[in-house]
Structure formats: C-alpha cells, structure tokens
C-alpha cells in the first residue's frame, strides 16, 4: 500500500493558499489559557500537490461502478448518472444553510415535495418523510412509528417484532434499538415464509413484522397477502424493508401488499451513488394510519408555497432523526433520477433488473453451478451456493470472490443471507449489458475449472491486486486503528 499521508509530513510544510490571511496579525485571540490546546494535532504538514497526488492515487486503488462490473447482491450497484451529481452540486443548493428561511429555498423545497409525491406513487403509500439518513435509519423510523402507533392506542403489551431468518441484520438491530425483542421465524425450502410458524409466533405481544419482498433470497413471497392477514389479525403492523424495491418498481406496490410502513434505500432503487459506504438516504413511506407519526421535517405545499412541517404542527411525530433534515444532497440526486426515468422508466428498472438476473441464473444453472431455489423465478438477484465445491475442492465462496477481483470484477455479496451455506448473492442490475453478463459468466466458469484443476490458485487469490489476501483475524486481534508516528 501507499505511504500514509503522515509519513510524507515535514514540520512547517504547508499549503499556504488555503490559509486565511486577513485579520490575524492585528487581533489577539482572547480566550482563557486553560481552555486552549497545547499539543499539535497529528495532521500532516504537506504541500497541496502532495495532498492531491496522495488522494488521487489512493482513489486508483478502488473498484467502483464507473470502473468495474460490481454485482454486489442486495446493494444494487447500478449506474449512477453523472447529471445527478452535477445538478445537486449547483451553488444554489450547495450553499444553502439548513436554517435559512423557507422563502430562501423554494426551489429546493419544491424538489423535495415532488420527490415525496413520486415516492408515494411508487410505494402506494399515503405519506412520505425523506429525513432518514440511510436504510437502517429508515427502519428505525418505521419501527418507531409502529411503536408510537400502538402507544397512541394504549395497546401496551406489544413487545415483539417478528423477523424472518433470512432478514438483513439491520432489521433485528433496528427493532432492538426501538426497544423490541426479536422473534425469528424460519423460511421454507420453497423460499417462502413458514406460515405455520408465523401463525404460531403472532399474538397480543406482536407489534409487527419486518419483511423484504422479494426476500433476500431473491424470490417473491407469494403468500404475502396471507402474511399480512395473519399479522394484521393479530394486531401487528407490517414493515417493508425497501432494499429490494427496485425488483418490483412499477409492478407491484408495498401499499397494495398491505404493508403499513416501509423505507426506501435511495441508492438501490434510485441510483444515487453510495460513496464508499455512504451517504445514502432512507425515506420512509406510511399508509394512512401511520401518517401522524412520520418523522419531521417533511414538506407540504400550501397554495403555491412549499413549507416545512415540523414537530410544532406534527405533534404526534416520532420526532427528528438528525440535526436538520437528513441527507438533502442525496435526495436531490434521487429526485433528478426519478425525473429522468419517468413512470415508464421506473417500471423498466424492475423489468430489466429481473431480466438480467434470471438470464444469469439460467446460464449459471446450465454451467453446473448450484442455484439456490432453482425452480423459482429469480427477482433482481439470485443465489448460487458453493457448498458442493467447498466440500469437493475446498474452494469457498470467498475464494471465488477473491479470484473474481483478479479478473477485474467486484465480487458478489458472499455469506449473506446467512441461511444459505457458501452463498453468493448476485445482482447484475438493469444497467449492465448482456455482453458484460456473458463475460462475467464465462469468467465464473473459468474459475470453476481452476477450482477443479488448480484449487490453490483460487484459494490464494487475489493475485493481481495491489495487496494479496488480507488478514482479518490479525486486524481484530492486534487492534491498530490509528497511526502512531515513529519518533
């Protein structure tokens, strides 16, 4: 790896054009001695060129959508149109202070309002708040609303949230942050939820259930209406984890499936960039009965004016989840995306995401890979299990993942969902060409060949990246989280 920026530091080197120059000389700093810092913080002392070269070169050690095919299941690494970034970066948007007046922000608020309306339309829900800053925070907001709902009805014994075993880790974790205990229910061989288990699980203690549909197994929960009935009859509410909304956009709406509340990962369905880990955004949508509880602020339109709704008027709101209004810049990007797609374009997201996925699934099947749930329709993603190969040649899903890097592909998601052994969750997305899929499929076939004839080659991968396989155990054991200068 590259030298750290700290290792390039020299005392008294600097980038002078970045320094404020005026005022300083003639005015003293009038602060009490005891409150002042006496040590120099460990920031590098480098020139502007050094900074530029260092971080530009670091960027080159990164796979990304704009440079690589990145079929990371559940994460939906599709093309992020450049225009979104350009428009969200207009000075009128970038320089607006969050506490500026509503008048000084009608253009911005108009975008948010229209985005709310569009999200209502695609989810079939009655209200939307854009404020959650990620999917996980959307989940927290949603479960908070469920909680507030029960409380508002003085329905106090509901302490449990039901979660399928295939669920993403954020689901139980979010419910837990809302003070709920978690009841896990199993998935059937068919990929559907075990309804008998569900029936047994529900009761007066049930606050709600959290579901992704299509599930993290990449198949549609066919008896979703029964699920809703069972939970609703027990007095619980249904939470929809919108991570997979892109698979059904314009085809079927969570509201129509009788979900009560949901979040949307904007980066997954609406193509906002995910910035190497974030920022994302996780707007929540609710049906009528949860409307009063939406997190604030959100935008309303009064005559021709756009206004913030805050806890002043939304007195039953679960409150605000950030200092201001969430990841505004991401919301603007998503707004641009929705306008570029229009209604038809959204439906096509689902159609072509599923076309690409089912095509790959079929081809992998033909190549002898073990498909999870082969008899089911894949949604926008599908799973292959390397269990057979792990048993036969000691080549694991992780080995495949690393070997793919050698061939210039980012690896699919591995070992999630937890219930499928040695799994790879593959999500091609709708923006990739058939040629790209074919080349990826050919590469996987090649690796399969390698696994049989030269397993070590795969087990020791990657070979062409700047570093070989990294030692995760050592990292956790010999914790080294900050650089310490050698003196």
């Amino acid at each position: 790896m590259s030298e750290l920026i700290f290792e390039q530091s020299q005392p008294n080197r600097s980038a002078p054009t970045q320094m404020p120059v005026d005022f300083l000389s003639d005015r003293a700093i009038d602060l009490p001695e005891s409150s002042l810092r006496t040590t120099k913080p460990l920031l590098p002392e480098v020139s502007e060129l050094q900074v530029v070269r260092h971080y530009t070169n670091l960027s080159k050690q990164l796979f990304s959508v704009d440079t690589h095919f990145y079929p990371l299941g559940s994460c939906t690494m599709k093309y992020n149109p450049h225009i979104m970034h350009q428009l969200a970066s207009l000075p009128g948007f970038l320089n607006r202070h969050p506490l500026s007046s509503e008048e000084h922000g009608q253009g911005f608020l108009a975008c948010l309002f229209e985005l709310q309306e569009i999200l209502k339309a695609v989810t079939g829900m009655a209200g939307v708040s854009l404020t959650p800053m990620a999917g996980a925070q959307g989940e927290f907001a949603g479960i908070s609303m469920i909680r507030q709902y029960h409380q508002s009805r003085h329905d106090d014994g509901r302490t449990e949230i039901i979660v399928p075993d295939a669920a993403h880790g954020t689901n139980p974790a979010s419910a837990s942050m809302c003070g709920y205990t978690i009841k896990e229910i199993p998935t059937l061989e068919s990929g559907d939820l075990d309804l008998d288990a569900l029936k047994k699980a529900v009761g007066p203690q049930t606050a709600g259930i959290m579901l992704t549909n299509p599930s993290t197994l990449g198949v549609f929960e066919r008896r979703i209406k029964e699920v809703a009935e069972i939970v609703h009859n027990a007095g619980g509410l249904l939470y929809y984890d919108g991570a997979n909304l892109n698979a059904i956009l314009g085809k079927v709406r969570p509201g129509d499936m009788n979900f009560d509340v949901m979040h949307i990962n904007l980066h997954k369905t609406f193509g906002t960039p995910h910035g190497g880990g974030g920022p994302g955004a996780g707007p929540v949508a609710v049906n009528k009965r949860l409307l009063p509880f939406l997190p604030v602020p959100y935008v309303e339109k009064v005559d021709e004016d756009y206004r913030w709704v805050t806890d002043k008027t939304a007195t039953q709101s679960i409150g605000q989840l950030s200092a201001f209004m969430g990841n505004a810049g991401i919301l603007l990007r998503a707004y641009v995306y929705t306008r570029l797609l229009g209604a038809e374009g959204m439906t096509r997201v689902a159609e072509f995401a599923c076309l690409n996925s089912n095509y790959m699934k079929k081809r992998f099947e033909q190549l002898g890979f073990k498909i999870d749930l082969p008899e089911r329709r894949a949604s926008h993603e599908f799973i292959i299990s390397m269990k057979d190969q792990a048993d036969a040649y000691h080549v694991t899903a992780m080995d495949y993942a690393k070997r793919l890097l050698d061939y210039g592909y980012h690896a699919p998601t591995v070992y999630f969902p937890l219930i499928v052994p040695e799994c790879m969750l593959i999500e091609p997305t709708e923006t990739e060409t058939k040629e790209t899929l074919d080349e990826f499929i050919d590469t996987m076939a090649k690796i399969k060949q390698e696994a049989m004839t030269n397993p070590e080659l795969v087990q020791k991968a990657p070979h062409t990246t700047s570093l070989k396989r990294l030692d995760a155990v050592k990292a956790a054991r010999e914790l080294n989280l900050v650089y310490t200068p050698v003196v």
């Binding site: 002042l36 971080y55 880990g277 890097l405 570093l467 989280l481």
Partner: protein
C-alpha cells in the same frame, strides 16, 4: 430506455435463454391481483437537458445570500481540490469496502481519517464516521450506557446549552430504549451550566454527562470541572465538540484529570458544504477501553498474505450483520464520502491552516460583535468567552429583523426565541473566515437599517 442498454436482439436472446416469451412472465409468481399496469401520477420522463434547465432554475431561486447563521452548520472555505478529489468516481461510486483487496484506497483513507479525528479530540480511537452530529451524540449516549459497568442506570444528564436540534434528535433516538434524559437548565446570566448547579439538581445515579464545548451560544464552559464531576459520580463524560475549534481549544482527551471518555459531534466544518443540512459527517471517538462498544464501521491495519501492510474493516463482531439484534447499533452505512472530503480538507489545511481558520473565525466574530454592540440597544447577551458564535440581544424581536435583512441578501443569524422561551430578542450570530471586513460592515449597516425600519413600523 434511459440507462438500460438492452437492444431488442438482446432481449430476445435473453428471453429465449430463460425459456419465456415476454418480460412480464418474470413476474408470474406475483399474485396477479397485486400487479399494476402503470404508475399514475408520475411525471413523464425528461431528458438530461430538460432536467438540467429545471434544476438550474430552482437552484437559482436559492442563491446569493451572505450567511451569518451557524447553529451546527458552518460555512468555511472549501479548497477546490477537496471535492475535485472526493468527487472522483472511484470514491463516489464504490460501496462499503467489503472486499478489502479491491478497496485499499478507501480503507487507507479511513484509517488516516480515524487517526486525524482521534488526534484532534485527544482520544485513542475513532470510528469511520456516523450519519451526522446529532445522531452521533445519540449513539455516544447509548454507547456510554452500555460501557458504564459501574452504573445500572439509563439516565443521562444533558444541559440545555446543547444544540436544541441535537436534543430533539437524541430524544427521538434514545428514548425507545428507555433512556432517561435529565435536562439541566443554564444559568440565565452566564449562559452556561456550572458544577455547583448540576450537583444540586442531579441527585440520582446516572450513566453519563454530556458536555458541549463551545455550547450552543458559542460560549466556552468549564469543561475540566464538569468532566471531573462526572467521573466523581462514576459517570462517563461525553464531549460534544465542533472539531474545527479543536485546532485552538483543549482536546477532550485532556479535559479534567482523566479526560473525557467519548468525544463526538459534527465534522461538517471540514470541507463539507452547507447543502441544506446534509449529507454531513458525524464523528465518534473514544478511549481504548470503550472501543468494543463503539457503533459503526471501524478500519484497522493488518497485513496481507505477503506480510505487506494493508487495511480492513475490523471488529465486525459488534455490528448488525453479525450480531443482529445484539449489535452495538443498527447502523450499516457510514458517511464514507464525507469522511473522504474531511480527510483531504484536513490534509490541505494541516495543523497550521486549521488553527488559522479557527482563529480567523473567532476574531471575525468578535469584531462583528464589537461593531454590532455600538448600535443603539444592541448588546452581547451573556458575558463570557465566545468562540465563533455569539448571542446578540437586540432591542426588539429578532425574527422580523431577520426577515428585513433578507431583503438585503443577508441571513443575519438564528432567532433564539423558537428554542428558548423568553429569548425572542436574542440572535445567534456566526462569522467564519469566509467573511471579509466589508461583509461585516455591510452586516452592521443593514442591521442598523433593519432595526430602524422595524422600529418605525411598530
């Protein structure tokens, strides 16, 4: 078909491979009565040129104000190189670095970020960022409760001098886990809390004390005494700081005898645009002993198969994808891209530059206050040491003055009446290094005019 590369021929070949005749068949497992035909109420697609024109018109509506509001979001100069680099698609369009061998750039950078933040706060460790300042404080509170083994209580003491917007968010986030927040009012004379005062109010056991420095009014408090007091009461001290001020102010790790235990807050001032409130950059740092209770991503150094140094996400056993309902938090993403920008910003500024920015902001705020208080009836509300925000007490309500000054394209500050009953005449003003002496003079003149206009109209 925007962003979809499929030709008719492709579609045909793919359908044939799958063995179906139409794309619609792919959805045949969905109960037919649930399928919809179209999405009503969604506007027709625009092309790039059209949306660009629309957005440019909308952005223009919001431009050109000279902004003196702070209150948790600060306008600093952002060097051109910051977003030229952070905006490179490699940083922008990558996901969380799950495959470290394909993500060393991001991981090394986050390790550098952690180092800088830990050093600025005087802590041992930092995570790789959280959503924003308010949620970071909420996470810090939950973390402190989990960490404090000497105390079973879920009570946390918070002064009302903590940003009121933060207090709202904290309430929304921590209350579900039956955390009790004990709010301590500030002294009406000094705008601060003192050990003597809280000691009287808080007589139960509590897990942690939150200490903002500077506080919401821009005032410096006696953080040493407060930290020591928390420790005496077996509670953890949580420092909430604007990290920009730490170029000049004592790092939380050195507060009092033993130092604060956790430091957190908003790192937006480090190269991140105001952008109506987000995306920003929550940070969270702590002493070694609490690392395993830390929420969020953490990057650690390790070696590769050849023994070369590399970086990787570590301590994942704390996180939701492994621990699920028992995780330290539900957080899954971070604000990676913002951490990239902050790291580049800090590298460009260096210790000297950062100090200058902090000092210039402080000095300019003082200059503004000096000039403002020469206007009739305008006073500094609380006496004490301000950093780069200050509370001006106007001779009349602040809100109409703000509206009046908007006509001159000036946002003169935040009216405190909304957050603190009885403080209708108080205006919280912030001046950063971006304001010139001319800007300040313009401010003073417009304020003078506005006071006159509004006085007449009354």
């Amino acid at each position: 078909m925007p962003f979809i590369p499929h030709t008719e021929k492709d579609v045909h070949a793919m359908l044939e491979s799958i063995g179906i005749r139409s794309i619609n068949e792919l959805f045949d497992e969905i109960p037919p009565e649930l399928l919809i035909d179209q999405l009503p109420a969604i506007p027709k697609a625009l092309n790039e040129m059209q949306i660009a024109r629309l957005m440019k018109d909308r952005a223009k509506q919001d431009e050109n104000t000279l902004c003196f509001i702070g209150a948790g979001a600060y306008e600093h100069h952002i060097p051109a190189a910051v977003w030229d680099i952070a905006g490179r698609v490699e940083y922008m369009t990558a996901y969380t670095p799950y495959q470290p061998e394909a993500s060393q750039g991001e991981l090394q950078l986050l390790y550098e970020y952690q180092t800088m933040m830990a050093s600025l706060t005087g802590m041992d460790a930092s995570n790789a960022s959280l959503y924003d300042g308010a949620s970071a404080v909420a996470e810090a509170i939950l973390m402190a409760i989990r960490s404090n083994r000497q105390c079973q209580s879920k009570r946390v003491v918070i002064p009302t001098t903590l940003n009121p917007l933060y207090r709202k968010a904290i309430q929304a986030i921590v209350s579900k886990q039956s955390v009790e927040l004990i709010e301590i009012p500030f002294d009406e004379k000094t705008g601060r809390i003192t050990v003597e005062a809280i000691d009287k109010i808080v007589n139960q056991e509590f897990a942690a004390l939150v200490i903002p420095q500077p506080n919401f009014f821009g005032l410096l408090g006696d953080v040493d005494a407060l930290t020591d007091w928390a420790h005496q009461r077996q509670a953890l001290a949580i420092a909430v700081v604007n990290p920009m001020t730490l170029a000049l102010l004592k790092e939380p790790g050195l507060w009092g005898e033993k130092g604060a235990d956790i430091a957190c807050g908003e790192a937006q001032p480090f190269g991140i645009p105001l952008s109506s409130g987000g995306p920003y950059l929550g940070f969270l740092c702590c002493k070694n002993e609490y690392i395993r209770q830390m929420p969020g991503r953490i990057v650690g150094q390790t070696t590769d198969a050849d023994g070369k140094i590399g970086y990787i996400l570590t301590l994942q056993a704390r996180e939701q994808h492994i621990r699920r309902s028992k995780a330290t938090s539900n957080i899954c993403s971070n604000q990676g891209l913002m951490a990239v920008a902050a790291t580049i910003y800090l590298s460009l500024l260096g210790p000297k530059g950062l100090k200058r920015v902090a000092a210039a902001s402080h000095q300019k705020t003082m200059l503004l206050a000096e000039k403002a208080t020469k206007l009739k009836g305008v006073e500094v509300l609380f006496h004490g040491h301000y950093f780069h925000e200050i509370v001006l007490q106007l001779p009349q309500p602040a809100e109409p003055i703000i509206q009046e000054m908007a006509c001159y394209q000036i946002a003169p500050g935040l009216a405190l009446g909304e957050f603190y009953p009885g403080m209708d005449n108080a205006l919280l003003v912030c001046c950063t290094e971006t304001k010139t002496e001319e800007d300040i003079n313009k401010y003073i003149e417009c304020l003078k005019q506005a006071l006159k206009n509004k006085a007449i109209k009354k």
